[in-house]
């Protein structure tokens, strides 16, 4: 498409307007959370509350742990299953795909309405820690994780790698963990990233099942200390953006490596 000068100017203006539209609420969060009483200068008191307030601190730690556990469970559950389906039971791949994309059609709100019976059992068998939300969160993350990992798997020749490894005597565990997994790392990493973003922002399940995660705690504290809640929300955005930058750096690393160097 040849771009005329006029078009390029219009495009520049358009993109700037959009960028402003998206940046303004974020900047206002920064401004709002650092306001001092009586409009006198800036203060980071609200940010300090995030660390000093005991309930908030525990909730933030719970959310971070949940993010880690969700990524771990997702990888452990999904990656071997998808590799196995590709290699040994390709017939089931349509079913797996359908099931993994099902959470896109069944709203989270509906799942949580029906899940309280299941969670009563989870509570009885495992306990009532907020970390049991991991199970629900893995379900929510499934569609995005599936797509990421599926496209990564499609890009490499899983059959040959697996056959070669098996013929050299590798167990299935070695094939999955040490042969295939490193090659689909990009897909796994982007699935992990989406999982973290989702967990840190997830409110529906946590609030309706009465668990104290970071978003729930932020809403509670917003009734007494609005600035601290806005600071907390901004902090989670910053964290996710940092993760995104790390992810794109890693991605570029892998892409620039020549094929011969792939392990």
């Amino acid at each position: 498409m040849t771009s005329t000068r006029g078009f390029r100017i219009a495009r520049g203006v358009g993109l700037t307007l959009f960028a402003a539209y998206f940046m303004v609420p974020l900047l206002s969060m920064l401004d709002f959370s650092t306001r001092a009483r009586g409009d006198e200068g800036r203060t980071f008191d609200a940010w300090r509350t995030l660390v000093e307030n005991e309930d908030l601190r525990e909730a933030i730690i719970a959310s971070l742990l949940l993010a880690v556990l969700t990524v771990a469970l997702m990888v452990v559950l999904l990656v071997p299953t998808m590799i196995w389906v590709r290699l040994r039971v390709p017939r089931v791949s349509r079913l797996v795909e359908f099931l993994c994309l099902l959470p896109l059609t069944i709203p989270a709100l509906v799942i949580v309405v029906g899940i309280s019976g299941v969670y009563a059992w989870v509570d009885y068998l495992i306990g009532d820690s907020a970390l049991t939300l991991t199970f629900a969160y893995v379900v929510l993350v499934l569609p995005y994780a599936y797509r990421s990992i599926d496209s990564a798997l499609s890009a490499i020749d899983v059959f040959t790698l697996a056959e070669a490894a098996r013929s050299l005597g590798a167990s299935w565990l070695t094939v999955i963990a040490r042969i295939v997994l490193p090659n689909i790392m990009t897909g796994v990493l982007s699935a992990a990233f989406i999982a973290v973003a989702l967990v840190l922002g997830e409110f529906t399940f946590a609030s309706l099942l009465h668990f104290d995660t970071m978003p729930v705690a932020l809403v509670q504290i917003s009734k007494t200390d609005a600035k601290a809640s806005v600071a907390g929300a901004l902090a989670s955005i910053i964290l996710i953006t940092l993760l995104l930058m790390v992810l794109s750096l890693l991605h570029r690393d892998r892409v620039t490596r020549t094929p011969g160097q792939e392990s």
Binding site: R91, R94, L95, S116, G117, V118, A120, W121, D123, Y124, L125, D128, L209, H210, Q220, K223, T224, D225, A226
Partner: protein, 375 residues
């Protein structure tokens, strides 16, 4: 192949649903017994503990008390909690101070069997009367001094403190309010806030009841109240924000329909805050105190009740501007804080307290009509 897949899945699903429908065995929890072998969860009075010392000992052994939905600036609850905590060396866990009455019941249900369930409830009328099967009967030492209409004869619940529904406003921001219908004036655009959702919170329920009575309704007929708020919304005067001390201080909610004792608390932060109980609609309301039948700390819960209904506890509530339920008896006995008791505002007109049936009827009407009027 896929067909039998699906069949298998649906069979498994249905069977699992049936299984999940049977709830897991509930954790009865450790029975908290005193040295004399009394089960604290079944104690119905302080004698069951062998006297006050026995109760204190059992409670201090438990060491903790879970309370819920008690804002620190609501009828001086902050001082009550701190005094109790220091006096008896029991740690008080304050959960969800901004929760409504319904949230207390939900928390008790969702956290049943765990250590985090609430031990005691402080509920609005409609929610309390709908959930009496969740309360453990217990008669405090001063039970006989509570007037009959303010308690359950078996001790399942008792009123603790009360007040009148009022209109609180910042006189520096809006004109003076003398009656409920004043609020429809354009001067109050975007100013009037109701404390909560009337289908969930007792204060909001009584607020709508007050509007109903002021507009020709009665305790039997809450419809004019719902219509009033509809008109308020159409006039642009209704503010869909839950008021609290922060919003009052910042000026976000210049007019608040809430209990008169909360107006007293607001006046501490905003010197120009005034509270008015409209003469044409005097709605009185007491809150209901009860012990959770599944309380994780049953002895501490009972000690808390004893504390609240003691002279000390009742006077602390009075300090928060609320009328303690034993107020009249204490005034006669001379144990009331006379200065605070006299300082309570005079209220003209006939106070209305809806009965159980009236409350249920009103709640049904609200459930069917409130949300579309206010949205």
């Amino acid at each position: 192949m896929l067909r039998s897949h699906r069949l298998a899945v649906s069979v498994a699903a249905v069977s699992l649903v049936l299984l999940a429908a049977c709830a897991p065995p509930s954790d009865d929890g450790e029975e908290s017994t005193t040295e004399s072998g009394v089960s604290a969860a079944e104690a119905t009075s302080v004698e069951d503990f062998g006297g006050m010392e026995g109760l204190v000992q059992a409670a201090e052994e438990e060491g903790e008390l879970n309370v819920i939905a008690l804002p620190r600036d609501w009828a001086n609850y902050g001082e009550l909690i701190d005094t109790f905590s220091e006096k008896y060396d029991i740690e008080v866990n304050e959960d969800q101070p901004t929760a409504a009455s319904q949230d207390e019941i939900n928390a008790a249900n969702d956290l049943a069997g765990t250590d985090r369930a609430p031990d005691v409830f402080d509920l609005g009328q409609s929610v309390a009367l709908a959930n009496t099967d969740m309360f453990a009967p217990y008669k405090v030492a001063t039970f006989d001094e509570i007037p009959d209409q303010y308690k359950d004869p078996n001790g399942a619940w008792a009123n603790d403190y009360g007040g009148y529904m009022s209109i609180g406003y910042d006189s520096a921001k809006v004109p003076d309010v003398t009656s409920v219908s004043d609020l429809l004036d354009p001067a109050y655009k975007g100013s009037v806030a109701l404390n909560g959702d009337p289908t969930q919170a007792g204060a909001a329920f009584s607020g709508v009841m007050m509007a109903a009575i002021a507009n020709g309704g009665s305790a039997d007929d809450i419809a004019p109240g719902v219509d009033f708020f509809g008109d308020l919304k159409k006039a642009g005067n209704f503010l869909p924000v839950d008021p609290d001390s922060a919003t009052i201080e910042s000026g976000q909610t210049p007019v608040v329909i809430d209990w008169d004792y909360l107006g007293a608390a607001a006046a501490k932060n905003v010197s120009t805050w005034k509270t008015v109980v409209p003469e044409e609609a005097v709605v009185a309301g007491y809150y209901f105190q009860a012990i959770n039948a599944d309380a994780p700390h049953p002895a501490a819960a009972r000690l808390w009740q004893e504390f609240l209904y003691s002279d000390e506890g009742q006077n602390l509530w009075l300090k928060g501007g609320a009328r303690p339920v034993r107020g009249d008896a204490m005034a006669e006995a001379g144990t009331i804080d006379q200065a605070l008791w006299d300082a309570l505002p005079e209220v003209g007109g006939e106070p209305v307290i809806p009965t159980n049936e009236q409350t249920e009827k009103a709640a049904t009407y609200l459930a069917e009509n409130w949300s579309q009027v206010i949205s």
